[in-house]
Point group: C2
Chain length 310, copies 2
Amino acid sequence: MSNRKVKVYCPATVANLVCGFDILGLALQDPQDIMEVWEKESPGIEIIPDERYHLPVRPEENVAGASLIALIEEAQLTTGFTIKIDKRIKPGSGLGSSAASSAGAVVAANYLLGNRFSKNDLVRFAMNGEKVASGVKHADNITPCIFGGITLIRAIHPLDIVALNVPDLFVTVVHPQIEVKTSDARQILRKEVQLKDAIRQWGNIAGLVTGFMKNDYDLIGRSLEDVIIEPVRSILIPGFDTVKKRCREAGALGGGISGSGPSIFMLSKENKEAAACEMIMQEEFDRLGIEYKTYLTRINVQGILVEETR
Amino acid sequence: MSNRKVKVYCPATVANLVCGFDILGLALQDPQDIMEVWEKESPGIEIIPDERYHLPVRPEENVAGASLIALIEEAQLTTGFTIKIDKRIKPGSGLGSSAASSAGAVVAANYLLGNRFSKNDLVRFAMNGEKVASGVKHADNITPCIFGGITLIRAIHPLDIVALNVPDLFVTVVHPQIEVKTSDARQILRKEVQLKDAIRQWGNIAGLVTGFMKNDYDLIGRSLEDVIIEPVRSILIPGFDTVKKRCREAGALGGGISGSGPSIFMLSKENKEAAACEMIMQEEFDRLGIEYKTYLTRINVQGILVEETR
């Protein structure tokens, strides 16, 4: 038994990308969680939590723990892991905080085990963490977190992941410090949608994917429209309509709710426009008197980075 | 006033492409309608119909006529056109027969007018023909007919057309000679769909478009799945399930209903597999005792071809 230890950098992620509910996502360069993971000789999982947040430390209730349990079972390990989490992606931000922990834990463990599992396996393990976090085994944050870049989940059963081309884009994000639970944000969605709305949505999805593949920024901008989810969920986010409208007027290609919110993201072709978006976001949430944090960042193309330490 | 005359070759088209209901389509090299169009000094439209089919000759009731009326109005012409139609794409086949006539008429007239309208304008005019044919101004046959290749209609209002990459594919088509009216095929569709089915559908659409853009044949094959329209419409087409199942087993990437049917199409990477599909189609409709016609063809990348004649 070695005492190898790794540090993993786990990027925040933006799921859905406006029209691609449950299928599209991208990884951000900032913020990132940092986790340290090392093997221990006794079986089981020990979690050293981030003291800033009151996250569960019992492995089966902790997203990183639940993901690792799945990996340990499939690997039939008799040893265990210790995890120390430096959480920089705020839980409940809509920026894939739970996915970062879930994915980070299994990527780190897999590295320590000599990379015996594929990235697809790791996504599958980490989905158990998402189940703990939101009750649903969704993969649209985990996938870009592990793969980096912009990812498509064509299907969940069996898991079919497609890496898309990544155009040169700037991403501006605002996290207004209000609480929107993923489970609540799911419950307010209607279970049925109008066929005509679904058709409009899949036109936009096809347009967005084609825009990414062709580096066609205008097409990306025209396709960033969601007629199904956003009209319902945006009600939960004060300032959403104003921020979106003003950012587009300021030259952003478009954007919307990050995951199930409350964070809002905007894609821009140039830094100048992305900076204008950040200023608009700051102005709007200052005006509303809501605490917030903004990020002006880029797409992270490498996904989780593993660094071996002593 | 010249007496210029053009001959246009108008390709058959496959709309929907399984999962892309109302947004995707491709043009075929075979069959094609041939139309002759020339200017006449008196206003109005004269239609010399194909004697094999009893198609309306009053311009406002004829798909080519209705399309030309829209063009003549917008061009504010005081002259008219004569159209002679050699219809080789059987009406009611689901292979874009009405679109070929609608699109051919306006492409020909536009050529005679010195190409004053854009392709997007021509699609808009020709949609009036589709309205006459099926009651709905859909553009998913007209667009590939005019543009060639594989096309995406991201949105109808305003019209947003995107040309996709065209992988090297063989297309096998069978047209069983039974009647399925587009208007009937639309009426049996439910107006609401389950959100979970819509999500699965847009995963497939994103996968199919990505497959086309990357020439990823496996991804194309995995994405050729329709959980919304096909389960309802395929009931109207005897032999559908067997043909589809056997063609996939024989190596076809996949396929489904062409437009609203009754034609069935299959995409294959190699001629050998496409030929196997044709044999399966022949066997199945022979067995069912239903008259049919098959085509083993390629994707037409140029769209409607205009030839000036005397």
